[in-house]
Symmetry: C2
């Protein structure tokens, strides 16, 4: 087996070219005789790495000047608290759109800080769709509206941006950030754990409109105040320097690929081909409303669940790994983030066809 | 210049052998065709990495079974909040021993949660010593006693463990953990940012006695409750997997070096040689009480501060880098953590002698 395609939902596959470059630079970064891991975060070498990463991310996402970009720790799970802590600003109410497992976690943590209004939910449809916005019970006085543009477990994705008027829109983009162009100006806060489309786990990127910074709930950790980080260029304390560096390499790679327009076309092709294979088969099935199928995470089941173990074992023999579905939904899941090459998806599609012929 | 010795206070030098191994394994870990960064944290490959790292740390530090070891994010700055959040347990008072800049930060954050009693301080001595314990005003009813065994900026280190009776003792060991054997059973909580003696920035190791877990202050982030992590083997959310892996390589390296007894003898030799050079010179000076000079961070000044820039420039020419003292104290600082080889300290000592001859 010479090649492996890793369909993990996260931590996930990283671009091969980036891994090779990181390897080549690991012991001695650019003739400094130091690893990036060994550099003071306040030294000129690391500062240049940090600044370039932010500049490249701003360019890729076209982030307006009135947004801060923060390189933090703690994952989306920390943002579930940081969002209410920072965005309530004296208000006691927030709206949440609930379309899956991650939304549920955000809601649970939000309830520790405010009255959560679940303005829309697809729970009755087992999170296989997105409720029509005409039926959302948004509160014009809510401090913010939180949603999850891509649900990693259910494989449900928004292919549009909710219109929530003047209320700040907050998005947990962990599993969809950088998969396509988005209009950042529509958002109050965008956050994402790095371990899907950005880099190694342990880095969290937060893009926050600057007028939303500076009025945190009293008596909360100083590290959970966006101002702590915004006022110190994400260096109030030692940042996760290696993750920040690695993210910068991924941003460069994305620019070399042609940016978010280009990667979005590739992502669309990869997802379309895989969904077509599933739909055309009569053997594989995906339960999600076609209008909101995820480009990033494709869950599917086999006609006979008894074959699941065989599928996984034979796939592994072909170098197709980490395809087991999340324990809460079963079946399979192919996560096909930016770094999954089209050849990987093609290999999976070939294997699925062969498997169906033999077992279908 | 073929070799560089990096005296950064953190992120700091890492063992050369560990960096080389990490490089060799970066793209393909043990024939898995995956980088450690790409592995699901719940997969068997990463689980084996995580478990071995914890087992090795337990062996190195002789951590008793009634202590949990947590692999977290957020640095010591997050622990400044997590300690009161978890250890107050209905109490409203805590004691802090103040011996430098990091203790000051811990106290400032502690005050957001409770009545802080500064039971001892060396502020009047400009943090060049440790107050004699006979004069400490400890409160037997305090929820805990917090101290900083090594102050990275001032270069002041406890070479003994405070006796605080039955009150849980809490230590910010960021810059001294693993530098020598310690009796973990004397502590309630030990925490350390990784970026000095453990591995890359972005990982925080917490060792906490299990009876202190589970009574957090209400209304605080779920991520700041030790129980959240202790009950999920530090995988409540995606942990900083690469840092955890790298820490495991450092723990293996330490075991190969003979463990903490062996490294402590090396550390003592390195520090003694450097302090002797300073004291014998009449040109260099270290202001710290000899009884509490740090083995890890050695600040020193030149007889003529006008020579500082020349010293730094000439040192750099010799491959001795990141020697500039912290802006709050000026002068020089040589951080000589576990990974700084004795040859590095010898090279610095040689250079200091040469520099004194030319400029003294």
């Amino acid at each position: 087996m010479s090649k492996v395609y890793n369909f993990s939902a996260g931590p996930a596959v990283l671009p091969a070219e980036v891994l090779e470059r990181a390897r080549d630079e690991l012991v001695d970064w650019h003739g400094s005789h130091m690893s990036v891991m060994e550099m003071s975060h306040r030294g000129k070498e690391f500062m240049s790495i940090a600044e370039k990463a932010e500049a490249d991310l701003r360019e890729l996402m076209k982030i307006p000047d009135n947004y801060k970009v923060l390189f933090l720790q703690g994952g989306a799970s920390s943002q579930f608290s940081m969002v209410p802590i920072n965005l309530l600003r004296g208000n006691s109410k927030a709206d949440y759109i609930w379309t899956g497992a991650w939304g549920k976690k955000a809601i649970a943590e939000g309830k520790r800080y405010c009255d959560v209004n679940v303005a829309a939910s697809s729970e009755a449809e087992k999170f296989t769709t997105i409720p029509d916005p005409s039926g959302w019970s948004l509160d014009a006085d809510a401090a913010y509206v939180h949603y999850t543009p891509n649900e990693t477990i259910g494989g449900v994705e928004f292919h549009w941006i909710p219109d929530v008027g003047d209320v700040p829109l907050v998005a947990d983009m962990s599993s969809t950030i950088l998969s396509r162009p988005i209009d950042v100006s529509k958002y109050g806060v965008i956050y994402a754990g790095a371990q899907k489309n950005i880099g190694p786990a342990g880095l969290t990127v937060v893009v926050v409109r600057d007028d939303l910074i500076g009025q945190p709930v009293d008596g909360q950790p100083v590290m959970f105040d966006y101002a702590t980080h915004a006022n110190n260029d994400s260096m109030y304390n030692t940042p996760p320097t290696y993750g920040w560096y690695f993210a910068g390499l991924v941003f460069e790679w994305l620019k070399d690929k042609g940016g978010l327009e280009a990667i979005s076309m590739i992502n669309h092709r990869k997802a379309s081909a895989l969904y077509k294979t599933i739909d055309d088969s009569g053997f594989y099935a995906n339960p999600v409303d076609p209008d909101c199928r995820s480009w990033m995470n494709v869950p599917f089941t086999l006609a006979d669940p008894e074959l699941d173990a065989t599928f996984l074992e034979e796939a592994k023999q072909e170098g197709l790994v980490t395809l087991k579905g999340h324990r809460s939904v079963g079946g399979m899941r192919a996560s096909i983030y930016n770094a999954m090459p089209e050849e990987g998806v093609a290999a999976l599609i070939d294997f699925m066809g062969e498997f169906e012929k033999r077992h279908g």
